[in-house]
Symmetry: C2
Subunit: 418 residues, 2 copies
């Protein structure tokens, strides 16, 4: 069978199965997720045997230790996959919710009701735990799911997929609702991305190369997130101790993630006091500072920031620093360089806080709180399927609700149009 027809068959089976999953009660879906969790735990040795094949192949290729760690299905990783599924089971089910209902002058009642998207394709790299996490979120929101992980985790992903499919079968549900693509041939992805009749949404998770490849080749809508160049603006009227605490948390608590601080903007009137204070704290924490000329006049220890620094996502203990004349310059800088991820203002000035909330249109806009809260779990969405920095469908961290859409329901008693 050609790759094209193989993917078409797999996706059409998922489409048929999706109709069954779409109408399940929350109770059945929760039962399924709990079964998936206990089957994963009970299958630890089978999963680890498959994982050993991937680990051996990776070692033979000379994969770096950090990457090998991400690939390993340790007992702890298996327990965390099971725990994740149980957490998703405990979340409220978005499907069926009526988000509004109104009556028209002719008496028809019109409402909008949440329904699953249908079939969701997840294209991801390396970490095999994504297989269980993404499957749980898609199934809980009433969708079928097609999973295509990285070729280096192929044996692990196949084994996880088989265990999860057994859980579906055990409670009488179609195993085709969860499909794992287990060929390492990249043309499988290209073929999947053409199947707009059978797949409703593609979510790529991984490096910028993967995401660009998927967006450029997909006829199916793609929700994506390239990078996080997060800004914090310390206003003239900020509480400097609060600002120090928040900026340090944003930069240092976990520098390698997309919601970490990358550029600090400081109001000209705050700079003489605040910049030496934050610079000392950052340097103590091992952060390299790269500043504009005005910053370096106040803190000579800073390196020179070049044009590239303003759009850099360091993912490391490096921070770009710029002094600005006020809100307008801060906003213009953010508009020019930000990635629409998360921007923060630190201020005690009510009017400034409101301008920032109104005029900055990134996916998450914060006042006096750490950008590290820009995450589905921290914001209260429950588990996160990804984060969108494009505005269509979802903007920002995405939870279960973002895997649904809304249909109109109309209740009449015989009305016709005049």
């Amino acid at each position: 069978m050609s790759m094209a027809s193989e993917m078409l068959e797999l996706a059409s089976q998922a489409r048929v199965a999706s109709r069954v999953i779409a109408t399940l009660s929350s109770g059945v879906k929760n039962e399924l997720l709990l079964k998936m969790a206990s089957r994963l735990e009970a299958s630890a040795s089978v999963l680890q045997q498959a994982n050993a094949l991937d680990l051996q192949a990776a070692r033979d290729k000379g994969m770096a230790v950090a990457m090998l760690d991400r690939l390993e299905l340790s007992d702890k990783v298996i327990a965390s996959m099971a725990g994740g599924l149980r957490e998703v089971a405990a979340l409220p089910d978005p499907v069926g919710e009526v988000t509004g209902m109104w009556v028209r002058p002719n008496g028809i009642r019109v409402g909008r009701q949440r329904i699953p998207l249908g079939v969701i394709g997840i294209i991801y790299e390396s970490r095999p735990n994504v297989t269980a996490d993404a499957a749980g979120l898609c199934l809980k929101s009433g969708n079928a799911v097609i999973l295509r992980g990285g070729s280096e985790a192929i044996h692990s992903n196949r084994a996880i997929g088989e265990v999860l499919q057994k859980a579906l079968a055990e409670i009488g549900l179609p195993a085709e609702a969860l499909q794992v693509v287990t060929t390492s041939d990249r043309s499988a992805v290209t073929e999947l991305l053409k199947l707009e009749e059978h797949i409703d949404l593609i979510i790529p998770r991984g490096g910028e190369g993967l995401i660009r490849f998927v967006s450029e080749h997909s006829r199916i809508p793609v929700i994506k997130h390239y990078k996080g160049v997060c800004h914090t603006y310390v206003d003239a009227d900020a509480d400097f101790d609060m600002a120090e605490k928040i900026c340090l948390n944003e930069k240092v608590q976990r520098p390698g993630v997309c919601n970490a601080l990358e550029t600090l903007l400081v109001h000209r009137d705050a700079a003489p006091v605040f910049l030496p204070q934050i610079a000392a704290a950052m340097i103590r924490a091992g952060v390299e500072l790269r500043g504009c000329e005005a910053s370096r006049n106040l803190v000579p220890e800073m390196n020179v920031a070049t044009e590239e620094d303003w759009s850099a996502e360091y993912l490391d203990l490096i921070l770009a620093v710029k002094v600005v004349d006020g809100f307008d310059e801060a906003r213009d800088h953010i508009n020019r360089y930000c990635s629409l991820h998360t921007e923060t203002i630190i201020t005690r000035d009510y009017a400034m806080s409101q301008r920032f909330l109104r005029e900055i249109n990134s996916s998450v806009v914060m006042v006096n709180a750490s950008s590290r809260f820009s995450d589905g779990g921290q914001l209260g969405l429950g588990a996160e399927i990804g984060i969108s920095t494009s505005k269509l469908h979802s903007f920002g961290p995405m939870g279960l609700e973002d895997l649904t859409t809304r249909k109109f329901i109309v209740l009449g008693d015989g009305q016709v149009r005049e």
Copy 2:
């Protein structure tokens, strides 16, 4: 200047202007729309001079009379464009609405607030009134707009665009917020569709060819609607007189539109009484019937329905008719052939109505009401920018709210992540 750099310049200007439009108060936006309306009326003779050039060119090319009618900017069409803008001015402004706000255990308050999408591109055919209608909806929802109409209306569209830009300038707003592409070179469209950094959404309006061209070439998200193959299922327990009235309205009131009835499904137990009744009414109204074998046994006047009839969007006085064994067969038929537009059940049976609402996931699902209500205005959304039969972002008729997205806002008092 090359087409690529011309479109890039136009789109970047729109992006810059969009930041101004995004933060306007509802009052200013309404003032703008009212100005646009009165300027259109005051410019009738200028518009009609430009329109005369398009009409002459169309006549020279031998364009059909019906198409010429659609192209003409009569006094009535101009009045209707102005009236449309005034109606949109009167609609509630979705921008700024906070759709929910909650408190996390650490005390941060998290909300979701509606913001404009940014820059919207509309690619459409023929009717020049779309230029004013689409501009009004995009600007009211805080977006900049790039309009690219059909080449046969190029002089009319340019003239309308100039009038509307003067209204923007008159109240001190950037005219670049409303861009009309006035070259007839199709490569302008191809270039626009590449500018994902500058345009947030593309809405194609026109025939299936245009829509397929746009979806296949766009790197920007596209909201689209190919066709409407609407089904009505008359249940065993339907009120047959109500069913007759509704089905007639759905098929006959305006057969050339996407929410007209195309396939009638009738429960086997209802068929012996209802089919002769509805067939007589349809035939009196000039409708050609094409039925399955069971239908033709009851109504010999019907022509034979072939496989093609089940997926046909006739847009004409033709109706496909099929007898089904019950809800399951009706649902399976709908799942196989529907275009996810609008499906209706006629029944007095509460349980059946609930199954239909739950198990049919088209964009509009109705009980005991005419499919002709499947329209933004009729459903109460105000004016309609289009209808989406793909599930991402919007599903079904789209109003002002569908031209917005939501950002997260976070209000803290110094919280950091542990």
